[in-house]
């Protein structure tokens, strides 16, 4: 179980980082999304893996830490909002700069103060 989760996080992170290093906005956004998935999983396991346990003390034999689950929820909401924002920004950049390269490659005379 630990190995499986670790491998999943590792694969998601490495794919995310690879895509982040691309030059165009769409792969970068995909990379960011993969990275946040990896991060969310990582936060989740920071409370240790206790399969089949409840988050409430006294219900079963043991219990699993509820706090990381709350943290993951917060992180998911925030990363969702941020992804939506950066998506719109990337579309706007595509419209304003004429291409989807992160550096935009704008001409000098286009720069307005």
């Amino acid at each position: 179980m630990e190995v499986l989760v670790a491998v999943v996080i590792a694969v998601l992170t490495s794919c995310g980082v690879y895509l982040l290093l691309r030059g165009r906005t769409f792969p970068i956004i995909l990379g960011l999304t993969l990275l946040t998935y990896a991060v969310n999983l990582f936060i989740f396991v920071s409370g240790r893996l206790n399969p089949g346990q409840s988050t409430i003390i006294g219900v079963g034999e043991g219990y699993t830490d509820p706090l990381p689950q709350a943290l993951v929820l917060t992180a998911i909401v925030i990363s969702f909002a941020m992804t939506a924002f950066v998506m719109v920004l990337a579309l706007r950049a595509r419209a304003e700069l004429g291409n989807d390269h992160v550096d935009g490659r704008i001409k000098v005379e286009d720069v307005k103060p």
């Binding site: 982040l20 906005t25 970068i28 960011l32 990275l35 946040t36 991060v39 990582f42 936060i43 396991v45 920071s46 409370g47 240790r48 706090l67 990381p68 943290l71 917060t74 992180a75 925030i78 990363s79 909002a81 941020m82 924002f85 950066v86 920004l89 990337a90 706007r92 950049a93 304003e96 700069l97 992160v102 550096d103 935009g104 704008i106 286009d110 720069v111 307005k112 103060p113």
Partner: protein, 507 residues
């Protein structure tokens, strides 16, 4: 319980919501709501500063959950000072904005208050994950503010800024999750106690988490090699926003001070002071890159943005020295550089408007409409940034140099600070003489600068004089602040001994 401590978070939040609801109302109404709110916040921040000036640390348990379980807001000398500096800065940038520099005003005022909420919250919180949440609040506001006004240059630098900070947020979460996994707590005071008991077996992971946090805060603070987003972003932002952004790098600096004195400071056991060997060389390199950028910049606002990098380098060097005296000097310098840099951004905007199509490029252009007035102000602001007596930059630098007279690092700090001062003089005299003296024989057809906006800049620069002539009181406060920082036990005890109010039940 003293509820005043949460006012710096709630007041801007309510104002921002009110402003959002009032979208489409006349500009006059929006401006008055925004400005009245910032005056109220100024009152609150002053009251908090006065209450923190004594030796008490006020702890506010949200939802009455006693630490270490709930989220706490903690008001110590450091957080009170940071909130005060922020609100004063916001006051002036709003003052400048309401003088006709806020179009389209609908978005600017409400988002600026959301930013204030995030910044004040980040300074006040005593919980690591809550710090992350407030970071996100201030970041998403800053993304919007940076794009305020539109245009290709803003979109381009904004995209870089947003993408970098999103990666930074992911790293922050990884570090926070690692620390939670290791210590089982997110409360900074409780974490400090747990970190002090780190075993040799846990130390490598703890090291990784702590240094990952340094990367995140270094990105916010614009530390080498993570500062590349800053100059373009600041140079392309609209003037009130650029002025307000002067606090953004200080949030990184604040977080570094907070985490690396409280949690990973002298009392950190196996991981004590682990950021210091990294901070020291990086701060001096930041300083060097900053002055090189200022010297090479071909636009006035870009040059000022590089001066922000210089100030960050100076502050990080102070933190890396890691003595009480150096921390006190750092805090004094922080107040000075925040206010003076933002005054420079506002002044640059006024200057740029009078140069017509030449804009802020440092080349021969039309003569200014008010060369004497603006020239004098530019001279004073430049002198303050460089660190000429009798202005506050001089005192800040002298304090920092005095703090570094004890070990082998003295030479490097003195050399870098003095050389940086010299190069900054060269850079600013180049831009100043080109803009004010080497002009064409005509005046651009523009209006005179708005009196109110000019007065905002003059008052901000006067603050630099207040900082130096009222220096005794300021230094007494920063000394006490540094003393509190170097004794993290006071903080941890104040937080962990806080009791929930009896008789208030959780539903």
């Amino acid at each position: 319980m003293n509820h005043l401590i949460i006012a710096p978070v709630l007041l801007p939040l309510l104002t921002a919501i009110l402003l959002l609801l009032g979208t489409g109302r006349p500009l006059r109404v929006q401006r008055s709501i925004s400005f009245l709110s910032i005056i109220a916040q100024l009152g609150v921040a002053t009251a908090l500063l006065a209450s923190a000036a004594g030796s008490t640390i006020t702890v506010y348990a949200l939802g009455n959950w006693a630490p270490p379980f709930g989220i706490v807001l903690v008001l110590d000398r450091l957080s009170a000072l940071m909130v005060f500096v922020t609100v004063v800065l916001a006051f002036f940038s709003l003052w400048y904005a309401v003088r006709g520099n806020d179009k389209p005003a609908d978005s600017l005022h409400s988002v600026l208050h959301f930013l204030l909420m995030g910044v004040n919250g980040a300074f006040l919180t005593g919980d690591l994950f809550n710090l992350f949440v407030f970071f996100e609040v201030l970041l998403i506001s800053s993304y919007t503010l940076l794009l305020h006004g539109g245009g290709a240059a803003r979109i381009k630098s904004g995209l870089h800024y947003v993408l970098l900070n999103l990666v930074g947020s992911s790293l922050f979460l990884i570090a926070a999750a690692l620390l939670y996994g290791l210590t089982g707590t997110l409360n900074m005071a409780d974490m400090a106690n747990k970190v002090a008991q780190t075993t040799a077996e846990e130390a490598p992971l703890m090291n990784a988490a702590a240094l990952l946090l340094l990367v995140v805060f270094g990105l916010k603070a614009a530390m080498v090699p993570l500062y590349f987003w800053l100059p373009r972003a600041y140079a392309s932002a609209s003037a009130p926003v650029a002025a307000m952004f002067c606090i953004m790098t200080k949030i990184g600096v604040y977080s570094i001070i907070r985490m690396y004195t409280l949690v990973f400071g002298d009392t950190g056991g196996a991981v004590a002071n682990l950021a210091e060997p990294w901070l020291w060389p990086l701060s001096l390199i930041t300083l060097g890159f900053g002055v090189a950028g200022a010297l090479a910049a071909r636009e006035l606002r870009l040059q000022i943005a590089y001066l922000v990098v210089v100030s960050v380098g100076t502050m990080l060097a102070g933190i890396a020295l890691n003595t009480e005296q150096a921390l006190s000097a750092t805090m004094y310098y922080l107040i000075h550089s925040t206010w003076v840099c933002s005054a420079l951004f506002l002044l640059a905007d006024i200057i740029v408007r009078q140069r017509g199509a030449t804009s802020d490029r440092i080349i021969t252009g039309p003569a200014l409409r008010q060369p004497v007035k603006l020239g004098a102000l530019f001279f004073i602001a430049a002198a303050a940034v460089i660190g000429m007596p009798p202005l506050s930059g001089f005192i800040g630098k002298v304090m920092l140099m005095q703090a570094a007279t004890t070990d082998e690092r003295t030479f490097w700090l003195w050399f870098m600070l003095l050389a940086a001062g010299f190069v900054t003089i060269t850079a600013l005299s180049r831009s100043g003489s080109t803009i004010f003296w080497r002009t064409e024989n005509r005046v651009a057809k523009v209006d005179k600068a708005d009196r109110g906006a000019l007065l905002a800049v003059i008052t901000m620069l006067a603050l630099s004089l207040v900082l130096s002539f009222g220096g005794n009181a300021v230094v007494a406060y920063t000394d006490a602040l540094a003393q509190q920082l170097k004794n993290p036990d006071i903080y941890t005890q104040a937080v962990l001994s806080h009791q929930a109010i009896p008789g208030v039940h959780h539903e």
